[in-house]
């Protein structure tokens, strides 16, 4: 039998103590996590790591820190699972943590660039974020352009246009109002268009009049 989190496991053949599988519902999963059941941790990861990884990827692009950030999201989530008020919103709660982690990472890098600008000799070398070889020019340039957006606008832009999230979901993930997210998106679109027009790999995508609708 495959030892999956949803498979019943016999803890002791002599006493026939059987661990119940983690049910599919998030309510039961959160309850199991709050009760400290070890297999619930794996169930949480198996159920939502794909979503969290996707959100991180969308916001940051190909990035060498992705694994560390993914781990960090789940460490925070598992550590603060006791604070989940509505277990049915588990997915959104995790997305919110992922968005905050990604945003923090962006802000940290932007601050680092400022420090290097003012005192380049006083800070150690920072790694270059190198995209994998198989990444296309369009993808690479898109994230290069996005790196010039303010962190909040970059996050909103990535979630809305790359991940395809609904506006309300973007607002919820960023923990701001719908009006705020609309303003951020409008600013991000203007800046992105201005910067992308200077890039041959993106010019065709963003030139006004080329939209499909």
């Amino acid at each position: 039998m495959v030892n999956s989190p949803r498979s019943p496991r016999i803890a002791s053949t002599s006493t026939q103590v059987v661990e119940l599988p983690i049910p599919d519902s998030d309510v039961a999963l959160v309850a199991a996590l709050q009760a400290g059941r070890a297999e619930a941790r794996r169930a949480l990861f198996d159920r939502y790591s794909r979503d969290v990884e996707r959100v991180l990827f969308r916001v940051l692009g190909p990035d060498t820190e992705l694994a560390d950030l993914l781990q960090d999201v789940f460490v925070v989530a598992l550590g603060s699972i006791g604070q989940v008020r509505d277990p049915r919103a588990l997915r959104g709660w995790l997305t919110g943590i992922a968005v905050r982690k990604a945003r923090k990472c962006i802000v940290k890098r932007q601050r680092w660039r400022i420090i290097q600008f003012f005192a380049p000799g006083d800070v150690p070398e920072q790694e270059a974020i190198v995209a994998p070889l198989e990444v296309s020019e369009a993808l690479r340039i898109t994230y290069e352009v996005m790196s010039k957006l303010p962190a909040d606008e970059r996050v909103a832009f990535a979630l809305r246009h790359i991940d395809g999230m609904e506006l309300t979901a973007v607002a919820s993930a960023c923990n701001v109002s719908l009006a705020t997210i609309k303003r951020r998106l409008a600013r991000a679109q203007r800046t992105f268009t201005a910067l992308a027009c200077e890039q041959p790999a993106l010019a065709d995508w963003v030139t006004p009049g080329e939209a499909t609708s």
Binding site: T64, V75, V76, G79, G82, P124, H161, D163, A211
Partner: protein
């Protein structure tokens, strides 16, 4: 649908293809299994006073930074430098490549002179009012720093940094061999980076030979320590003394405030190939050991708790307060892995590698040692882009743990690293092997592509 959505969908499709080949989730799942993550109940707190306080502190800091940076950059006169016999003025960023037949002199206005030896390359990284930061990119530089008050000089070579106040030394660096050497003729210098830890002090008449990649350090009298750069690295490997800071019974000495420092701990672990101590501990240092040990134990418990709670930044700050090597010294295999992770989160990749090398030296043959090999492969792959080195480490993992939890990921990474290193024939063989063992594994698409290329 907007034009941004069109572009976004295109980007998302490409990302999804990359994600399908990625083993990130499997790696993180394995990592999480080893972590003890206690649940934290956060208490409601009033945040306004904190916010106001933080804003005030931030404002004061910003003002201090502005006051500190702006005058030093724009009002203070920087040291002057001329290059070569033609006395070409140098500035920040000036690159010097000496011809094969003669050295090139860099003469600084305070009387300091740096001779870049034939076929060597160096760069002025930065000029300061009382010194400069020089990068030795390759070869040998003979440095003679004028002894004046407040002099500040730094010479970097690969991952190593030499802090100088007034002294005379020769420094060699070969990035190909990953070999660093420093012969100190006068005064003293402090070397930092990788196997040296922080501020490793060297005295007149001593030679330091080091390799970060191999985790080796040899310090001793110049007449006793062999040069590594000018000979074949493989021939000299057995002559190189190995840092066994964590494996020896030596304890880090306490600084004046009772905090253990990594420097002495490292010094006491340096042994010659013949087994005798290169450095002997002073009696005073031994007397401070008990207090240092107690302090180290306390700090160790605290950083472990912080790390297990996911507070990596706090844990790393604490570890750094006692010195990374000192923390490594008292750590077991799992904790060394954790320390390596902490260093990596702090982007100190040299320290991360150092912890992993120590783990392999001290706990060779263990499951964690194999995990360290995998992690070293990842560091080489992700941070250095050294694909051949990375492949070697992934092979090492597979040799030591052929059925280990990371075997599939190591096989995939090995395939990827071999492919990127340009070894197409080996990559094809590995691709076929990967598909036999993991037909639907995360690297199956890459394996199929590589196999397809061969047809």
């Amino acid at each position: 649908m907007t034009r941004f959505d069109d572009l976004g969908r295109h980007i998302a499709r490409e990302q999804d293809a990359l994600r399908a080949q990625s083993s990130v989730r499997t790696e993180v799942r394995a990592r999480l299994d080893t972590l003890d993550i206690p649940q934290v109940q956060r208490h409601a707190i009033t945040r306004w006073p904190l916010a106001i306080g933080a804003t005030a502190v931030a404002g004061a800091l910003a003002a201090a930074i502005v006051l500190w940076i702006v005058p030093s950059k724009h009002e203070t006169r920087l040291i002057g430098v001329t290059i070569g016999e033609q006395e070409v003025p140098g500035t920040t960023g000036t690159w010097v490549e000496a011809p094969s037949e003669s050295a090139v002199a860099m003469r600084f206005s305070d009387g300091t002179r740096v001779d870049v030896s034939p076929s060597s390359r160096a760069r002025i990284a930065e000029l300061w009012p009382n010194g400069a930061h020089l990068l030795l990119e390759n070869g040998l530089a003979q440095v003679n720093v004028k002894r004046i008050p407040n002099a500040a000089w730094r010479v970097s070579a690969g991952p190593f940094a030499v802090k100088v106040t007034g002294t005379k030394f020769d420094v060699r660096w070969s990035p190909e061999q990953d070999a660093f050497e420093l012969d100190l003729h006068e005064g003293h210098v402090e070397i930092s980076g990788c196997v040296f830890g922080q501020n490793y002090e060297l005295n007149a008449g001593q030679r330091a030979v080091a390799s970060c990649r191999q985790g080796r350090l040899n310090v001793g009298a110049q007449s006793e320590v062999h040069s590594e750069v000018t000979t074949d690295a493989a021939d000299t490997a057995e002559d190189i003394m190995v840092v066994e800071a964590a494996a020896t019974d030596a304890q880090p000495a306490a600084a004046d405030d009772g905090v253990a420092t990594p420097v002495t701990g490292l010094e006491t672990g340096v042994r010659s190939s013949s087994g005798h101590d290169v450095h002997s501990r002073s009696a005073a240092a031994r007397n401070r050991n008990a207090a240092a040990r107690a302090k180290a134990r306390d700090v160790a418990e605290r950083w472990r708790s912080l790390a297990q709670a996911g507070r990596y930044a706090d844990a790393l700050t604490l570890v750094r307060s006692v010195g990374f090597l000192a923390a490594c010294k008292g750590a077991d295999a799992s904790e060394l892995l954790m320390l390596s992770d902490l260093a990596r989160y702090g982007r100190d990749y040299d320290a991360a590698a150092q912890a992993l090398h120590l783990l392999r030296q001290r706990f060779g043959g263990s499951r964690q040692a194999a995990q360290a090999a995998f992690a070293l492969g990842k560091l080489q792959f992700d941070q250095d882009g050294s694909y051949s080195e990375a492949a070697w480490w992934f092979r090492t993992y597979l040799r030591e743990q052929p059925s280990g939890a990371l075997a599939r990921e190591a096989s995939g990474r090995l395939l990827e690293a071999t492919s990127r290193s340009g070894d197409a024939s080996s990559a094809r063989e590995l691709a076929a092997q990967y598909l036999r063992e993991y037909p639907s594994g995360p690297h199956a698409a890459l394996a199929n592509t590589l196999r397809g290329d061969a047809r």
